[in-house]
Symmetry: C2
Subunit: 131 residues, 2 copies
Amino acid sequence: MTVSLRELRALPGFSDKLLTDGCPTRVVLDHVTSKWGVLVLLALSDGTHRWGELRRAVDGISEKMLAQTLRILEADGLVLRDARPTIPPHVEYSLTASGRELVGRMLPLVEWVARNATRMLARETEAAAAS
Amino acid sequence: MTVSLRELRALPGFSDKLLTDGCPTRVVLDHVTSKWGVLVLLALSDGTHRWGELRRAVDGISEKMLAQTLRILEADGLVLRDARPTIPPHVEYSLTASGRELVGRMLPLVEWVARNATRMLARETEAAAAS
DNA sequence: CTGTATCCGATGGGATACTG
DNA sequence: CAGTATCCCATCGGATACAG
């Protein structure tokens, strides 16, 4: 499943420029590659989770950003929100079929970064020490 | 090359929490998934380019953000900067071996988004019209 | 428990001008 | 050509308080 930039150029939003400013691809790309978007999608990749579980799983996220991120991903059709009208409220979030397709392509990227990040940042402190 | 979240949990930065706040993986992930980081890496995926070419290829980027993005990606060891001491200056940017590995895992994600973004955003304007 | 509303500071990022 | 420096504002995003 290797893809080249040449092949991508046939797709909408591509031209002599890479992706035109404000085109649909860039908008969605900004949503899913946002600081919290990546982590929320990742958290949902192993199944359904409740609001509180997501809040704890995604270290450092504020309630405001969790709500905002979930709303955007839901509007994009990547996340499904299932609210049971009970007291107290019980709400479950899961990936849609589209969401699972997307996450399948995001996991290899995250895995590579997780495997290499420490070594990459080590280079930098090393370079800083030399100066 | 399918990866699951379960397998990821064995890697550095993962725990009961997904990725701890400020861990190396998150730092690098923020660099490469930043608004301009993705597009610059994408632009370099088909070979070496000069500063001016990148400026034109990445639609809408300012000089400030191009410089900043390139410096960060270079510090991470993903981009190589080759400056020829001529007048006028001639500087070429390319991906390192690490950068090519990373971009190989980013292209399928971008391809999927490019194929589906228009349909995804169509859902939203449709939903807005219904309200 | 699952959010929303508001305030406010930090950061991202554009425009412009300037330099070797 | 390939940047740097400065100014400035808009958006991001955290903290807190509150609500159904």
